[in-house]
Symmetry: C2
Subunit: 513 residues, 2 copies
């Protein structure tokens, strides 16, 4: 295997952080914008986001939610209403203070001191407060409940250290916001959307996740309970890939979301919110990428199959292109994974091998290279992105009659989708260390090497308040965090390694992005 | 006809501006947000926007463009580079000056003086400058051209007087940005996208438009030429519903978008930009709405058919709902206007007549009311939104065997789509006054009554500079503006009413939104 010359010049093993940046650059997904903390999402990265949006939006609508659009700007006074939320969020945010620019007398521009806003506006870091204000107008009676809304939007959280897709000052996301008559209904919604996220991650993204409840210290500011899906990256670290919050009545009280119940009494709503973002793209890179670049699960691949004609810039090219177009049309007429196959014929000038490696690095599931002789023999030459190399270090092309390939294309895409999930899940499960029953064992696990060995599954007594703070501090000394308490895990036996009390819950402990 | 009791309590004839607000409120499309100049787009309004996005995005991609995402924030220095653009835009904009909030000592929050940005950031009013900076990185050689990008995004232009959908501080739009090797190619692109907009307006929106070039004084700041589509509202005013700009080389020079041509020489790109926004929704309201509320063209209707079971809250309801569900499924299995029919079964509790009028006001093209006797007789009762009233002032329901309705549903939706266009076009054409050949005639036309009689078609000599300013000032005295010079209009004869020179072009003169 040592004879393989990989498409990237940095490996996951060599330097995972650099490898991550290399995948993004070589797959042409995004780049720094020149605007502090903001990235430009390029067509291939944005195309993956469009696929995610499309598939998740279907699920959001199927569960009864309607899309709306709320203002980008939130007046400070809205933000000040919910105390814990302010504490948690009112730190690093973009603040609009002026509404006009004037010449600065030096050939440039400056904010007009005459156009200072009476009340500064915050660029939304999340929209609970402004949506809460709308809900207080919309909800009058129990008949208006549940109120199920969602928006797709950009949000801004001023970040000091940014990393593309994972942590940028501006990012794209969806945020669901719902109001309910009581806790039971709101908790059902919270768990329903957590399950939508789990199924979305493990389905279209082929990314295994652990769904569970975050510990108290990791709750969304102002929430009564926060749930997450957590994915393991190939470097053993965790990525929180989506969250669903039961907000209790605190936001509803702050915004005045009240209703008349069936008995004619005024009552306060229970609300939820839940969101996933472009951060998921970072997760897909770090779960599925390899030393040749990105591998995109077929369900979210903008192109599932790319056809590369081996053009020779001679009179044979027309016939070759006509043949490739026939293959393209036959594939596009079929369905895989519940949708028409997305196939792209790359007619650009340039060497076929150069184009091949560009598509490999972008992670297209299937690449067809077709030359004049293939066309004459009604053949195609197939390269599977998930099985790129032969043992002799050459790309593992397989020649196949065109009709055979076309007939099997849907099944092959489905197999790749399933295979990526299985591969990621086996790796994840291998890297979860169970039965770590003392802090010494935990320390040993995470100090043996510079690499992160994976996650530790630990039993604890679920302390709160100061006792929890002590646990968090202790874990911090090992650069560890509590990820979540997985749903449905059996109650553990034994003692809590932190408190010495009887253990009541299982948690995952890990380093994190 | 006087016996008709319309669903709105204000008519177009009575007070058009109030009627417009009433349609938006009664159709539950949008509302004031409590944040200055920003609206909340509610599910029905946002659903129409999603339909517009979906259909236009297909055309944008079919013409070779790829979607990207660029930063919300633009550093002042980017903005200062293109002088004319600064002049035109650097007036009313939201300016971010701080990146942190701290307690203000009075229980509230304030921008942290320690967290003042060295360089203020403008919330994008449009993205030529920040996309130009990216293009300067992406374009190296003639092989990289044309570079065809688009983004769907929110933008902010601080507005003093706002009107929902038509003029809000924040709005949603798409903005296409392209770079080309030469003027010919850039002009072809400019005109191609103008035509895409024309076809989109006249197709899915059923909104007749005049495509043409804006006069020099109405050009986009920094552009060499600006083209628009102009629609006539039912009050006779014009709405600019989309623009396409040939930017020449000025933005490319400011941003350094240069390439090596086939001969190895460095050359400057020619760029274009083009956009349409949520403003189009305002156009749809004012072109198609009537005294009973909105009428949505079937192609952009979130629901094309709504089924209303006449529930009685008794044991017959189950059978009725089962029948309605059968009708729904049969309709959803068919296609109209190139897509599966979008049909909604409204099972909510509440009186059928109340629900009927809510859907009428939302403008659903076809409403089916189905009662127990209809179900027994395999019938449906159909109300067409575009032919709502009988001469006796009653809603014009028609009873029909269910199979007859289902078999004809696609054709009926297509007829409604076509009918709305024809109706709007006849009205528009009636309200264009041709042969207005003196300023006195123009004055007479627009001062005869308080109502705007429509547009005047006028021949002029296309003056520029100070001579054009004089024309603009003269028109302003009548509250008139020049809309555009229609494409392909034959050269006029006679003299220019403004300059006394021989006329060279036809223009439309109108009051405007």
């Amino acid at each position: 295997m040592s004879s393989i010359r990989h498409a990237l010049n940095v490996t996951r093993e060599g330097d995972f952080a650099q490898w991550y940046q290399a995948v993004i650059a070589e797959a042409d997904m995004a780049e720094e914008s020149g605007v502090r903390g903001c990235m430009v999402i390029k067509p291939w990265g944005y195309g993956i986001w469009e696929r995610m949006q499309k598939l998740l939006d279907i699920e959001i609508k199927a569960t009864g939610h309607e899309n709306c659009y709320f203002p980008l700007f939130i007046p400070l006074s809205f933000f000040e209403k919910e105390a814990e939320h302010v504490e948690g969020f009112a730190k690093e945010m973009a603040v609009v203070t002026h509404h006009r620019l004037i010449p600065n007398g030096k050939g440039g521009l400056m904010p007009d001191p005459e156009a200072k806003l009476e009340e500064p506006l915050v660029v939304r870091p999340t929209s609970e407060t402004v949506i809460g204000a709308a809900m207080s107008r919309w909800v009058q009676s129990w008949r208006d409940l549940p109120l199920l809304t969602n928006q797709w939007a950009n949000v801004v959280r001023w970040e000091m250290r940014t990393r593309m897709f994972l942590r940028t000052s501006e990012f794209l996301w969806q945020e669901g916001h719902t109001a309910h008559a009581d806790k039971t209904d709101a908790m059902e919604e919270t768990m329903r959307m957590l399950e939508v996220y789990r199924a979305f991650a493990e389905g279209p993204l082929a990314m295994p996740v652990i769904a569970g409840e975050k510990p108290e210290n990791e709750r969304f500011p102002g929430a009564d309970a926060t749930y997450s899906i957590e994915a393991m990256m190939q470097d053993g670290k965790a990525l929180q890939a989506g969250t669903s919050h039961y907000l209790g009545t605190s936001f509803a009280e702050a915004a005045g979301i009240r209703y008349q119940d069936r008995e004619g009494q005024q009552a306060t709503c229970h609300t939820t919110s839940w969101g996933v973002s472009t951060r998921m793209i970072g997760g897909v890179i770090m779960v599925h990428g390899d030393d040749d670049g990105l591998r995109v699960p077929p369900q979210i691949a903008p192109h599932q199959i790319v056809i590369l004609p081996m053009l020779r810039e001679n009179e044979g090219d027309d016939a070759l292109l006509a043949y490739c177009e026939e293959v393209r049309r036959a594939l596009a007429g079929q369905s895989a994974l519940g949708e028409p196959i997305r196939v792209h014929l790359d007619k650009r000038a340039g060497k076929a091998t150069g184009k091949r490696w560009a598509w490999v690095k972008k992670g297209v599931p299937l690449i067809l290279e077709i030359g004049g002789r293939d066309a004459e023999a009604s053949q195609v030459s197939v390269l599977r992105r998930d099985r790129l190399w032969r043992d002799d270090g050459k790309p593992d092309f397989r020649g196949e009659p065109r009709e055979t390939f076309i007939a099997g294309a849907a099944a092959e895409l489905e197999a790749i989708q399933a295979g990526l999930f299985t591969e990621a899940k086996s790796r994840r499960d291998r890297q979860i260390v169970r039965g770590v029953d003392s802090f010494e064992a935990l320390s040993a696990m995470f100090s043996e090497s510079e690499k992160t060995p994976g996650w530790a599954q630990v039993a604890w007594s679920a302390p709160s308040g100061a006792a929890l703070d002590a646990v968090v501090a202790k874990l911090k000394s090992l650069k560890l965090t509590i990820r979540n308490t997985p749903l449905g895990a059996p109650a553990p036996s034994g003692m809590c390694m932190f408190t010495g009390q009887p253990a009541t819950q299982t948690i995952y402990v890990a380093r994190t992005y």
